[in-house]
């Protein structure tokens, strides 16, 4: 049944068609072991059947003869298998390190498994349910899981790595053949384990970039307000500029593709900072934000007990740490002349949002 079907379809019996740089050496070793196995299996079975026929018992009184020990034979069938398995071992190791080592110019994609789907995270924090790859470019998949152990398995690439919660695994390979391949979960993970599948698409030269732009368009258009704000926080201004330069077709999203500073400006009113802090220098309940960043890094800010920032911090991050502290725990260092009335924002404004606010403060230096 199987054989006739194979003959019809013209497919090979063992191993799927190879599509990565690892597949070649792996298949070579696979077939080497396979033919070695065929040989030894045939040898052992042939000897066994031959002996069973030639030395079959003809009379219940008959007893066996022949040797019962032989050091030369024992050494022969110890050393020959040993040589063969060591050959296999030393062949397997370099191929294995190929899938465990970083390459130059590799493209990194983050893979996250969760019950029961795969998420692929590309440059600029774009998420997608399919794994898209450029052909002939080294790939590094950083693999993680949010719940139980899963395993990323791409048979065509001969690549597999467990997605273990609480630790980041990775594997490397270079797709060498354009096409569509399945990705499967290979570690049992529950009810829909057998549905935890994804599509791998290897694009021809240039195709990947085109797909990424298209995916970015649909990805951004599908985000709601909160998701969008979170996305922005994870993208640096440089990334955004590069991103827009790379994909001019995304101009329609330009208003959405803002910098953290712009997001900080939004937060300024949204989080209610504007009630006590001005941005035009006028005095209010709290210190004005205008020029605050500069004053702080120059060490001009004086606190209630006449200390200055350098009393507490001396590293380059002094200002950032101070802002984080002052937003999360405003009572820690109160500026001279101000009252300790600001409510603590810890848990309300995240560290990422503080970063956006700092970026906004930087735009409020006098002269800008």
């Amino acid at each position: 049944m199987l054989m006739s079907w194979l003959a019809q379809s013209g497919s090979t019996l063992w191993m799927p068609p190879p599509a990565s740089d690892i597949a070649g050496p792996v298949d070579w070793l696979f077939y080497f072991i396979l033919y070695t196995s065929y040989f030894f299996l045939a040898l052992i079975i042939a000897l066994m059947v031959f002996f069973a026929i030639k030395y079959r018992r003809r009379d219940p009184r008959e007893m066996g003869s022949g040797p019962t020990h032989g050091m030369v034979l024992e050494l022969t069938w110890t050393i020959i298998p040993l040589i063969i398995v060591m050959f296999i071992f030393f062949n397997a190791i370099p191929d294995y390190y190929l899938s465990e080592g970083d390459r130059t110019n590799q493209l990194e994609i983050n893979v996250t498994g969760s019950k029961w789907q795969w998420d692929f995270q590309y440059d600029n924090n774009l998420h997608h349910g399919e794994l898209h790859l450029p052909v002939n470019r080294p790939i590094r998949l950083n693999i993680n899981s949010t719940d139980v152990v899963h395993s990323v398995y791409i048979p065509a690439f001969r690549a597999k790595k467990d997605a273990v919660p609480g630790r980041s695994n990775y594997m490397t390979f270079t797709p060498t053949r354009v096409g569509t391949y399945p990705l499967l979960c290979a570690e049992f993970c529950g009810t829909q384990h057998s549905d935890m599948l994804a599509k791998v698409v290897v694009h021809p030269k240039g195709g990947y970039e085109k797909w990424l732009a298209e995916a970015a368009r649909s990805f951004l258009s599908e985000l709601d307000e909160t998701q969008y704000e979170q996305w922005k926080l994870l993208v640096t201004p440089e990334d955004l500029d590069n991103f827009l330069a790379q994909y001019p077709e995304l101009e329609e999203f330009e208003d959405k593709l803002t910098t953290p500073a712009m997001y900080g400006e939004e937060l300024y009113t949204k989080a209610g900072c504007n009630q006590c802090h001005s941005i035009d220098g006028t005095s209010n309940t709290g210190p004005t934000f205008k020029g605050m960043y500069g004053r702080t890094i120059r060490g001009e800010t004086v606190f209630k007990d006449d200390t200055k920032l350098e009393t507490y911090f001396n590293a380059d991050y002094a200002a950032e740490n101070y802002f984080l502290e002052s937003i999360h725990e405003p009572g820690a260092k109160v500026v001279k002349g101000m009252k300790d009335t600001m409510p603590a924002q810890k848990g309300k404004i995240s560290e990422q949002e503080v970063g956006a606010l700092i970026a906004f403060f930087k735009t409020l230096e006098s002269g800008q």
């Binding site: 070695t36 052992i44 030395y55 139980v148 609480g166 630790r167 391949y181």
Partner: protein, 596 residues
């Protein structure tokens, strides 16, 4: 070689004469027996029960997989909240079933089948002893086994055990609250924990027995190879099982208490740590499964070739080598887990080294057949099937020991086929060889040789059909533990022909499993008929050289009237055929065997 003249042959004693089966009567005389033979038979009945149970699950699983996209499994009730009964998905039923298939067959059949059931029966007799060193401890081991088994079966009733027999964390240990909580995992894991004690106590008992109760003349290198195998197995049971026990205890604690994290990263634990612990036991455990089987095969091949085993010392020492090196290869189950590349390299190297002693055994068995007088009785046929199947299992192990090919094959049907070739081939077929071999000794009756051979042929065809197709599918990327191989695979880019290959492999495998099932049922029927209607068996129907063939069939209550003395373990000189009883007897006047 001469045969004894008819008139001088003593007629066989009637089955009603005093023997261990009728020495005392009543159900209680069995339940509280301290006789190793009766305990062995109780183990035998228990493991066969679980073989049938676990095997039935396999047939149901294969039936489910026969047709793509079709579901024959019921949805099991999950919990009842306010009168509404919630149900598991049918895939959960599948998952629970393969878990129980693996769990029951590994913990309740394969591990105890040869050492505890057959080993218990033959070990003291092979030593010419009256019983094991600690008969009371032996009975206790049996009841601990029963206790563990009850817990395991409770998991079946309690539902929710769908972790695979490997209990991988954090899937198995995730804490669930209130009505979501399922006791299945706790019961099954407790069961495995309890079974561990049974295993350890049996190991201690066997080692003590072999150290203390060897008969006059039996030096270490005069012990039958079955005893060497049981010795190596016992060492592994004693050293490895405690690690499993601790691991399972930690798993139960983590599952029951929300605040405790050992393996669950969400609570500060490490899931890979569990894998290390688990395989530190479970890799030696696969040798606990296979090494006693190798012992049986060594006995059977020598007996049915009517010739001393070739390379006795090499076979004996290879059992010990497997037991020792087998402790250092567990990491080859974890090549894809993210363990460091260097440690994978070492584990791969050690894995290849542990293959060598197994290869040595196979070649020694073959050499024993050379110029033997080979009697193709059922046990010998199973022994030859063992060599075929174990060779395939061993050779396919090379694909999995080689790290680079293992990365591709790990957790596919290739692995499933590989470990069925080694574990079913290694244990089930050796077990069948042993059961047929010692059946006349156990019950004093002969089974039908023709019936046994036919069953063997069916088993041979069925087994290979079931699992060869899985090697092919696995190498093409067919992952294990999938409830269904739906059309989704084609959509995802497997291609029509590729998806078709999976479907065909599954179909062939299912047909094969039915044939295998028929063969096993056939073998069971042949033995059950023999139990009641079999011809009276003489003390040594096969011409076996070891001590169990020098006591009556069935043996008397304390095995031997006088403690026998022994020489070389596989000495066939002086063995004579008694045509009247179709029995082999040792001529006491025969010259002693030449020393090796």
């Amino acid at each position: 070689m001469s045969s004894i003249a008819h008139p001088n042959a003593n007629p066989l004693p009637e089955l009603t004469s005093d023997n261990y089966l009728n020495h005392s009567r009543g159900i209680l005389s069995w339940l509280v027996t301290l006789d190793h033979k009766r305990i062995g038979l109780m183990y035998l009945a228990s493991v066969i029960f679980f073989l049938i149970l676990g095997g039935s699950f396999a047939i149901i699983l294969r039936t489910e997989l026969y047709e793509v996209g079709r579901n024959i499994l019921p949805q099991l009730p999950k919990s009842t909240v306010g009168g509404d009964t919630q149900y598991f998905a049918w895939t959960d039923t599948y998952n629970q079933m393969f878990t129980l298939h693996g769990g029951i067959l590994v913990f309740l059949f394969i591990i105890p089948a040869i050492p505890a059931a057959l080993g218990n029966f033959v070990l003291p007799i092979m030593l010419g002893a009256k019983d094991v060193a600690f008969p009371r401890l032996n009975l206790m081991s049996y009841y601990i086994y029963v206790g563990g088994a009850i817990f395991f079966v409770l998991a079946l009733v309690a539902g929710g055990l769908d972790t695979g027999w490997t209990f991988y964390t954090p899937y198995s240990s995730s804490f669930e609250k209130g009505s979501e909580f399922h006791w299945g995992v706790v019961f099954a894991v407790s069961g495995a924990f309890i079974l561990g004690f049974s295993s350890i106590l049996t190991g201690v008992n066997f080692i003590s027995t072999m150290h203390m109760l060897r008969p006059p003349g039996m030096t270490w290198f005069r012990m039958p190879l079955m005893l060497w195998a049981l010795y190596a197995t016992s060492v592994m049971q004693i050293l490895a099982t405690p690690v499993l026990a601790i691991t399972l205890m930690l798993l139960i604690i983590e599952r029951l208490y929300d605040g405790i994290g050992i393996f669950d990263p969400a609570r500060g634990g490490d899931p890979v740590l569990f894998q290390h612990f688990f395989w530190f036991y479970s890799h030696p455990a696969v040798y606990i499964m296979i090494v006693p089987g190798m012992g049986i095969i060594s006995e059977v091949i020598s007996t049915f070739c009517h010739k001393a085993i070739f390379g006795y010392r090499f076979i004996a020492c290879s059992s010990l080598a497997i037991a020792l090196v087998g402790f250092l290869v567990w990491g080859h189950h974890m090549f894809t887990s993210g363990q460091s590349a260097l440690i994978s390299t070492f584990f791969a190297l050690l894995t290849f080294l542990v293959a060598i002693p197994s290869a040595i055994k196979v070649f020694n068995w073959l050499a024993t057949m050379y110029k033997g007088s080979i009697d193709l009785r059922t046990p010998m046929l199973y022994a030859m099937l063992f060599i075929w199947v174990f060779t395939v299992g061993g050779l396919t192990g090379m694909f999995l020991g080689a790290v680079s090919t293992d990365i591709h094959l790990h957790d596919t049907y290739f692995v499933v086929a590989h470990f069925h070739y080694t574990m079913v081939g290694g244990t089930l077929f050796a077990f069948l060889a042993g059961v047929h071999y010692w059946f006349p000794k156990m019950f004093g009756r002969m089974y039908s040789e023709l019936g046994g051979r036919i069953a063997w042929a069916i088993v041979f065809v069925g087994f290979n059909l079931t699992f060869i197709s899985q090697f092919i599918g696995g190498s093409r990327g067919m992952p294990r533990r999938y409830a269904d191989f739906g059309e989704k695979l084609t959509e995802l880019g497997f291609g029509e022909s590729h998806a078709q290959l999976f479907i065909q492999c599954q179909k062939i495998s299912t047909i094969g499993s039915y044939i295998l099932g028929i063969g096993l049922v056939w073998a069971a029927i042949v033995l059950v008929i023999a139990l009641f209607k079999g011809k009276r068996a003489p003390s040594n129907p096969w011409g076996g050289p070891t001590l169990e063939w020098r006591c009556a069939s069935p043996p008397i209550h304390e095995n031997f009237v006088d403690t026998p003395t022994v020489g070389e373990p596989y000495d066939y000189t002086g063995m004579q055929y008694d045509e009247t009883n179709e029995n082999y007897v040792v001529n006491p006047d025969a010259a002693p065997a030449p020393q090796h």
